[in-house]
Symmetry: D2
Subunit: 108 residues, 4 copies
């Protein structure tokens, strides 16, 4: 595999997992209404991470552009998650910001 | 395109649209907690419809199996949606049941 | 559904179908080697169209950015497809350029 | 995260990576025509692995059914890949069979 992508793929895999887990957990919280923004962004973020992973693993000519977009969505998701005290939200925020950083580096 | 798939692709496209719209609308309802099951199944259903469409449009050797699974998920989503009085839920239920029927026919 | 997206969703659905069909047809051509670039871009283009459709149908806050990226990939795919004389490639190129135009309009 | 899924998610992630890499490598081989079946199944397999991962990570009520389908597609992809001597095909076949095994276990 193309090794320039290694760190970024790893960060995207971890972010995708954190977002899918946070999505599931938010849907099970008592006050789902408060988590609506988080649910929506978790889904967006998990989906764009999946696309970024696929693009890097298959050497897409658009890998950098997809990672640029992924960075933007990760940041938005991280900013929403960090507002909530739930452990799954805090961990998700961390994974999102780390992923945004790796995606930015790659897209630069 | 392979014409045996035509009706089923059409039903999947309509179901995917109804589910994505219902998903968005549920997240904006006042009582999101009541809609948690609907949100989750709308997402599952929109995603499997998208995969079924891709598999039929590209003549996948697994198109029938994917449509069989799509039928099951459409039925589950339709059953959840029809419990709720919101217009977007009722319309989504209809689209889900119609899609389940077409997918069953194709998979048979 | 959000009507500002109507034309763009329609163009994306037609482009996705044309790309998936072209992908399948290219894999069945006698000289697959000549079609390698087309196969790759058909896949990329069908996948980003699917994401753009989902983002518009669910009112994603990133719909415009996703459509901007979709426009770029559609143009690249259209430029590759129009080099080939096969009917499926020529039709795919047309669908790609029309979709690129609608996505550009939306993203503007 | 739900730990009953841990091994299966790991196998799906490795299989998805092997399939995406094999897909890219097949498109760059001298004789692409011979690789057409492999290219097609690599794509199918990478896509269903991605869906299986998402379903397990988000505790989908359909995770088992999706993994059952994933197992079938992994086996078909592994059987095609193992016919070819390229290193990327042999490695992909291994990852596919390992993933099929984990998915079967989970779906049982």
């Amino acid at each position: 595999m193309n090794t320039i992508y290694e760190e970024c793929i790893k960060a995207c895999i971890e972010c995708m997992e954190a977002c899918n887990h946070c999505y599931d957990s938010c849907l099970k919280e008592e006050d789902v209404s408060m988590m609506a923004g988080c649910i929506r962004l978790d889904r967006e973020c998990a989906d764009i991470c999946a696309l970024a992973i696929k693009s890097m693993q298959s050497n897409s000519p658009f890998a950098k552009q997809i990672c640029q977009l992924c960075a933007d969505i990760c940041e938005a998701c991280g900013n929403e998650c960090k507002k909530h005290e739930h452990d799954h939200c805090q961990k998700c925020a961390e994974a999102c910001f780390r992923c945004a950083e790796e995606c930015h580096k790659l897209a630069a």
